[in-house]
Symmetry: C3
Subunit: 256 residues, 3 copies
Amino acid sequence: MLKKLREQSPLIVCITNDVVKPFTANSLLALGASPIMSGEKKEADDIMKHAGALLLNIGTCSEDKIPLYTEMAARANQYNVPIVLDPVGYGASEFRKDLTDTLIRNYDIALVKGNAGEIQALGGQEGASKGVDSIFKGNVLKIAEAAEKLLKVPVLVTGETDAFVSSSEKLTMHNGHSFQEKITGSGCVLGAITAAFLAVNNSSKSIVHAVSLYNIAAKRAALKANGPGTFAASLIDEIYLFKAEDDKEKRVMHYE
Amino acid sequence: MLKKLREQSPLIVCITNDVVKPFTANSLLALGASPIMSGEKKEADDIMKHAGALLLNIGTCSEDKIPLYTEMAARANQYNVPIVLDPVGYGASEFRKDLTDTLIRNYDIALVKGNAGEIQALGGQEGASKGVDSIFKGNVLKIAEAAEKLLKVPVLVTGETDAFVSSSEKLTMHNGHSFQEKITGSGCVLGAITAAFLAVNNSSKSIVHAVSLYNIAAKRAALKANGPGTFAASLIDEIYLFKAEDDKEKRVMHYE
Amino acid sequence: MLKKLREQSPLIVCITNDVVKPFTANSLLALGASPIMSGEKKEADDIMKHAGALLLNIGTCSEDKIPLYTEMAARANQYNVPIVLDPVGYGASEFRKDLTDTLIRNYDIALVKGNAGEIQALGGQEGASKGVDSIFKGNVLKIAEAAEKLLKVPVLVTGETDAFVSSSEKLTMHNGHSFQEKITGSGCVLGAITAAFLAVNNSSKSIVHAVSLYNIAAKRAALKANGPGTFAASLIDEIYLFKAEDDKEKRVMHYE
């Protein structure tokens, strides 16, 4: 699937937050995809026509961006472009809750992804997130299950262990590295990489491929890094250097 | 104090400029704090309730962001959250002057920090800044004194030597490295780190700790760098690797 | 000319896209110029009075930014400040086309620069760009010629080979490295560096100097890099370390 991704180089439309734009674009380029970022709803139709996937990440959201989010989502649905929604900071404010709930209610979402605190709050449980890069040591599978049950949308919870739950599948992935939680936008970039794989094949296999690639690349990057600063640069390198066969290092557990 | 910071991991609300958002967030994560960035005044109350400090940095300011700045500042004052104000480019335009003057007049500011050109202009002296990353070789202590006298707010002037002046203290700090002036946002990130220490303890000691940590980390990073690009990555590493006892390398001079 | 640039440290006003702001500012600082970024048309006059050049890069453009672009361009023309226009994603949407065409029609532009897909579309030819970082293997000189003929503005096409065409000159430059197309904002940063050289000397020689410096720095950076992530950091280092005499490595071909 990585080979196909690199051949097709799908256009990934990233409506994402101001903090992670360079990191996101560089990760997608390293992966072999073609990122485009837009701030204007008027170009939604022109751009979405040629898109492979849409990433909607609501970090640094504001009221004046709502028409951009909704217009991009509407065009994505019109052209059958899968949407990955990353409700950054869900639970940190009513504003983010309302915005996320509206997007999930009104558009077909291929995947909701977030960290444990965000998905816990999304699933109606008491969240414990602080900031937008929260660290969590609980049962991510249960959190994903609760949110999927409530929202009826495939859910990915990211962290040192990642969990994915859809109507037909439940699994956890175990290749993460603790440095991923020490850099901003680590989860946001994983959202973008997931979107790139969904552009090639809109299935749960794509999600497993995306998460595992990112985590294996992170483990390799950590070996070359002195700390989170050099880790971030090496992570881009390792995404670029990743080969299809490296995927066999992935550690996935399936559940009934 | 660093230990306490890492245990508490205070939420630092960063209303900062578009150029330095990733670097700021990564520095705070490396330090052990929890950054959040927002672009929406409607979430000011929800976010500020749980905040440890507010960083207001007016680089890339615009008229439509003024309600965001003022609402965040008002909620910070309401909840006794210390505000660090970084008047980036003060003196470069009347617009930035008016905005900064309004913020200082209307809100309780725990610390105003800027480079020599900015603080010189703020103190009513003829500034000589160019761009927003100006380099300066004059008497930073006098510049800080003049601004503190006029504004009645604690003032930090950053550069190769840093100076802090409040109503009760005057001091200079001497651990800086020239590479810090060759990367964008170096001063902005120091503002964020200062805010994180003020969140733990709202005192002048926090400022000395913050500045010294940042400068010592910068000196160490410079030893591992070939130029400003690799320096920026290593600086994040060194903030992460900094230990409480490294603080004893700090060189501070107190004045009457 | 590089010596003069480092002595004068011209103020380069960057009205650029959200994805490349940190990389652009760091590149200009490494080069020796003074970057400033602004989001407010009200400060256009104050800032442009002291500016050496204006970079207008329309990536992540939106309707509400149009007054910023036009006011900055008008003040630049008033004060004889050269404008470099980078029509990122021209061809990707009608919105970007209309905006770019308006800017070229209404203001004196010193240089239009873009990748092959963008300039092809600008020259009225069928474009084949995808995303905003498109890779191209065709005849860049012909593309530059067609656009220059139509627009009557000096044109630079960037890629692994770069081409420059003005009313009096045609040339190609051959120092690029393939990694440049694997990092976001590589072309955007070249626009900023070109603007910095034009600030010192508004002539085609400046463009050759700028492009060659950037490409030679990129080749050196690639030798030290494991992939595009470490390459981006090393590229900043190599811009900083570049010496006037390194310019003799440049490979330029002139055409009739």
